[in-house]
């Protein structure tokens, strides 16, 4: 589904995390979907008791298309006393997922993954095998589509059908790239209609 919202980035620019050395205080790891469950189990046993965050990014045009991003946190070896403050470590795990591949759930390892996985399913359409209650969480239950995907129109499916003014399409487009998507088709259709004298 082409849309004017897709930023036309090409080649290496499509995978920003691989472009730059980490500028983070976190350790970064890339794990394949088939090994993610075993890796996370091992990490949890290793002391990463907290699944700090679970999110996803859509790199449309790259293979694999999505990155599911796990942020883990290891607190101090034992719960710190009132006086001392724990010095934790953070770990980021990136897991590339294709559109039709589902990931194993981690909601049995960390209870907090329950809503996070539901949100990824709702907004990106990535499924999690073994999740006890995988249904939409932010959008209404009868919603069609997954809004945070890059090919989901920014203004919603209904509004996007109307042609947008030319200036609205200029930003985020590399100079010289041809216009694409529905806006162009709609405009051409409109021009054709006027020329042929149709209403």
């Amino acid at each position: 589904m082409p849309s004017t919202q897709v930023p036309p980035i090409a080649g290496a620019a499509i995978d920003p995390p691989s472009l730059r050395p980490p500028i983070d205080d976190a350790v970064i790891e890339r794990v394949a979907p088939s090994e993610i469950r075993a890796r996370l189990e091992a990490l949890k046993a290793d002391g990463y008791a907290m699944l700090l965050d679970l999110g996803a990014v859509d790199y449309l045009g790259r293979s694999p298309r999505f990155d599911v991003v796990y942020h883990l946190l290891r607190l101090a070896p034992k719960p710190a006393s009132v006086a001392e403050v724990s010095t934790p470590t953070r770990l980021r795990i990136l897991c590339g997922v294709e559109e039709d591949i589902s990931l194993p759930t981690v909601s049995d390892l960390w209870k907090s993954a329950d809503w996070a996985e539901r949100e990824i399913y709702d907004l990106f359409g990535i499924r999690f095998d073994g999740h006890p209650d995988l249904r939409r969480i932010q959008m209404p239950n009868d919603w069609v589509g997954h809004p945070l995907r890059k090919d989901y129109p920014m203004r919603g499916p209904a509004l996007e059908r109307a042609p947008r003014p030319a200036f609205a399409n200029k930003t985020n487009v590399v100079a010289g790239s041809p216009p694409s998507g529905r806006t162009l088709e709609a405009l051409q259709e409109q021009v054709k209609r006027v020329r042929e004298g149709r209403p």
Partner: protein, 405 residues
């Protein structure tokens, strides 16, 4: 008892022993638009399933279509009780992507700490006031909102708006503190300890308040970690994890402050931790205030990120060009991804930001502390009374702009 012909609309289904009841989304004690699908056995909660998303506004999606500076205005609206925490976290994350973290002026960092801690007190004031109202203590609300009003007045002086000042910017601050603000701040700092004593006096030893909160909604340390609870709610369970100490930003490592913790893990402990936290915030504000006597720049000296001073635009061609380019196109951020978090009044607020080198963010993923804190309700609600559910929601302090985004 004969069954009535039509059950009330809140009742979803009914069996011999339990009834499924909908609490909210318009319930006054759910602090916004939270619906809880309750399975109850008479007055006892068997299962509580919070339904969120009633306030979903697609902020993360909107931000993908805005310039880096414009995105901050929508991001500030996530946690509308502590907007400057959102702005601060976002600015810090983008600064790291730009690689300018070390070049932010010292005065800007100090004012950021000051604003962050004032925001924390203002946010805790709303929490305490509404928490009191939930439990029938009306007067606390007025005391809290009076104190918050003083802080909002300062916010208005800095950024021009009471709720969403948009004062903290990528690269520093919108401008220096206005004249006379430090004097008003000094007056407020003098008032703080007395006002806080008042707030404590209203509730801390109040037997009704204690009856309603002690041993209610107990969150063990293990459970708190499992549910990914952060902030005061985690520290009330005995784990001293505070982002300001663990991953310091804005020079928090140079300030002298404690991280209050409790071990009980109940609603009363969360109340005490937040009150202690307000005291620590006052200490931080006093220290930051002392560093503000020496003037200095508050915005990075980099024409590619910061707008040129207004008076130079009429005199310098470069300044005019930079001004025009920054307004019409914004700045570009080198490709890469970063996770940065701050200690917001509700817990660890984090942004995972991906840039593809354009003038707009490619993806902004929020780690909303309220979402994870609220989720813990599923774990602590069963076995309690419906009336205590209200206490538990209040003590977890969710903000729905942030839960639903």
């Amino acid at each position: 008892m004969t069954a009535s012909a039509t059950p009330p609309p809140e009742v979803i289904s009914r069996s011999d022993t339990t009834m499924v009841l909908s609490m909210g989304p318009q319930h006054p004690s759910t602090h916004g638009v939270l619906q809880i699908v309750l399975e109850i056995d008479s007055e006892n909660v068997v299962k509580a399933d919070p339904e969120i998303g009633y306030l979903h506004t697609g902020i993360e999606k909107s931000a993908e279509g805005l310039f880096w500076t414009q995105a901050q205005t929508v991001i500030e609206r996530m946690d509308y009780l502590a907007p400057s925490s959102n702005a601060l976290c976002y600015a810090l994350a983008v600064e790291r992507l730009l690689g300018i973290t070390d070049r932010i002026p010292q005065r800007a960092q100090t004012i950021r700490v000051l604003i962050g801690e004032l925001t924390r007190i203002a946010s805790h004031c709303v929490w305490l006031g509404t928490h009191g109202i939930d439990l029938g203590a009306i007067s606390v609300f007025f005391y809290c909102f009076d104190l918050r009003e003083n802080i909002l007045d300062l916010s208005e002086a800095t950024g021009g708006a009471r709720m969403h000042p948009n004062y903290i910017r990528v690269g520093g601050l919108n401008g220096d503190l206005p004249e006379g603000l430090l004097a008003r701040l000094d007056a407020l700092i003098e008032k703080f300890p007395g006002r806080l004593r008042e707030l404590r006096g209203l509730l801390q030893a109040n037997p009704i308040f204690q009856d309603r909160t002690i041993d209610i909604g107990v969150l063990s340390p293990e459970e708190a970690v499992q549910w990914n609870v952060t902030g005061p709610s985690l520290r009330a369970s005995g784990i001293a994890y505070d982002v300001r100490k663990a991953f310091p930003y804005c020079g928090y490592e140079t300030y002298d402050f404690d991280v209050p913790t409790r071990t009980e893990g109940d609603a009363y402990a969360r109340f005490l931790v937040r009150l202690d936290e307000m005291e620590q915030s006052i200490r931080l504000i006093e220290q930051a205030r002392r560093r503000l006597d020496t003037p200095g720049p508050v915005m990075i000296d980099d024409p590619k990120v910061a707008l040129p001073p207004k008076e130079t635009i009429a005199l310098s061609m470069e300044a005019l060009i930079h001004h025009f380019k920054l307004i019409s196109e914004g700045f570009r951020v080198p490709p890469g991804d970063v996770y940065h978090s701050v200690e917001s009044p509700r817990g660890e607020l984090g942004y995972y930001i991906v840039s593809n080198g354009e003038n707009k963010p490619y993806r902004i993923r929020t780690r909303p502390p309220s979402l994870y804190n609220l989720q813990a309700l599923k774990g602590i609600a069963p076995g309690n009374l419906i009336a205590d559910l209200v206490v538990m929601i209040g003590s977890l302090d969710p903000v729905f702009g942030e839960v639903d985004r």
